[in-house]
Amino acid sequence: MKLSFSPEDEQFREEVASWLRENLRGEFEPIRFRGGPGDEHSFVEERKAWEQKLAEGGWTCIGWPKQYGGRGASIEQQVIFNEEYARAGGPGRIGHIGETLTGPTLIAFGSEAQKERYLPGIRAGKEFWCQGYSEPSAGSDLANVKSKARFDEASGKWILNGQKVWTSLAHESQYCFVIARTDPESKAHKGLGFFLVAMDQPGVTIRPIEQLTGTSEFNEVFFDDAECAADDIVGEPGEGWKVAMGLLGFERGVSTLGQQMLFQNELDEIVRVAKANGAARDPALRQRIAEAHIGLRIMRFNSMRMLSGGEDGSLQKEAMIYKLYWSSWHRNLGKLAMDVMGAESEIVPEAPYELGRLQSMYLFTRADTIYGGTNQIQRNIIAERALGMPREPRG
């Protein structure tokens, strides 16, 4: 066991940090630390410009193979990039769905034509993507999607009908990848297709969902005879589930240390408030602040384990607990923030409802234990896959 990164990786870290120091300033100064979870609606145009700036520096899609415009960066380097990016206050990445989900999916399952058509736009920070998975009746039970895709022989196009929900950045994206039923008689994970759909067309309607924070990160997306070119299906009709599930394996925890740096920023802010308002002298709050610190440090140790092992891509135990662990920790941090602020926690900085950073975090962390697999689903997965307990009956 070793605790440190190699000298080469440390050199890479310095390269990332110095590029960010030189470029994340001037016109981009206002977007530092902005656009993260709960704040994705802010500074959209500036953040799109920032994506192109990143691309010019060669800092988009660094984990992609070189032949597709990436750097072929190692897992360690991707971790380091994410960590330094968060440390420098890099804004929330509008391009992250294309970079971490669409791109790897096309590289693994796409045709050469699809790669040529779509990868350069993502790499250049000019074409943005959203994810069309969840539906009103397909949340945790993702295989229950009802959206349908029918091939129209006359026009030679796929025609999509249905509704997607919880689609973040839908209104800022040119494209959406969508799973929909190619076989209308099929059930569960059979008979699905994976489609690349342009958002700017008459058959697509986007409706923002206002959240408890008063902001709208998420949307509903309606497809009413939306069109999709014949060769914009990834894999064969019926292979959609395989493609969609393959995509879930791509992320592999490289962004976890970056996410933890955001958490650290929040915890630091809570400590600052506690010292300033005297909460730091309250024995019960001292215990909880220390507990939050312990929880975050262990999150890092856990990531280090996760990133050190499993070269074969197998799911390790420390990886299986990760979502349940961080989401529960972050939700507790939200409540701690309010309790540390005390009476002031109720006062909104700006009318009518411009929440402060910690207030917004407090409310938005309620989503953490729900999206990407609820805590209940995570516990089922842990019990069944890691502990070998009996599987839930599935209808």
């Binding site: 507990e291 610190h293 262990i298 856990n302 420390e318 607990i321 089922n380 842990i382």
Partner: protein, 388 residues
Amino acid sequence: MEFRFTDEQVMIRDTAEAFLKEVSTSEAVREAMVTERGYDQALWQQISQEMMWPALHIPEEFGGLGLGFVELAATLEQMGRTLLCAPFLSTVGFGVNALLVAGSETQKQTYLGQIAEGKTATLAFMAPGSRPDARAVQVTCAADGDGFVLNGEYRYVLDGHTADILVLAAREAGSEGEQGISLFVLPADTAGVSREWLPTVDQTRKQASITLQDVKLPADALMGEAGQAWPALAKILDLATVAVAAEQVGVAQESLDSSVAYTMERVQFGRTIASYQAIKHKAADMMLKVEAGRSAAYYAACVADEALANNPLGEGLAEAASIAKAYCSEAAFFNAGCGIQLHGGVGITSEYDIQLYFKRAKSSETLLGDAAWHRERLARQLLDGDAA
């Protein structure tokens, strides 16, 4: 970054697991725990002479194997998992670490050599009713010719009634807090030392009181500088704390494993109770605790290695130890407590072993500071700007 076992470390862990499964069975634990001594001497001979575990992280120049704290932690985890009844934590977690941190070359040669050959050791520092900080040191020492004379009483000394070698903390009369503390090492049969076994709730771990009445020690019993030993003692306690945390991971793991195994067997309403979500979700929470605890304990073990080598990364020892002990204490207690619940009625019988894990979880939590104590130590560092 390689935060995972090397092949050699995996081998050491597997060897420990296999050996302890053989020798530290439920029957063996129950037989040893009801004796005053608390362990089987033949087994200790095997552990020290065949497995050479007490010598694990003793440097080769002092007759040891020269391995590191991670290997030690891997072994301790397996000991916790089987509730091994042996004076290992006292001898190695406290005794060896005390000698490595504070012993002179001569003291190391003498005592580490003896430990490698099978002698046992422990550390005494706590006054009755104290908590594990500098104020716990109440036994007094005074200059006596070239040597020293010690008086007072220790309590909560692990294996204090059986240890062959004692490391004692004492303070100059009138000194307070971190000032005036000295460490001594001596054979347990030194005149004036009387020792008494204290029966404990957790019978798998023995404690004793030690009373010193005009105990005269030669100058060469002193470890380091007279009156300057607090930093060394603090470091020894932090190293021992990491050792306890590694054991707690094993307690947490076995509490989970035995409970899952039980729920897979137990049938109610026509199905194994393991098929109910109420049971599965509890088990999932238990696994989260044990895996997060494992990450914390092994990180701390890595830092302990750096600290023993006096490397800069070792400066994080106090923080890493507190993180590991705070988390692993609660993980072991949570898992053993949930374990009893998942066992249902049989969980509270003496026949099933889960009650033994529940008792060990609590005694380990109390040992060297419970979770709240370590959180407050971290809070001082985070919120008051003090060193922890």
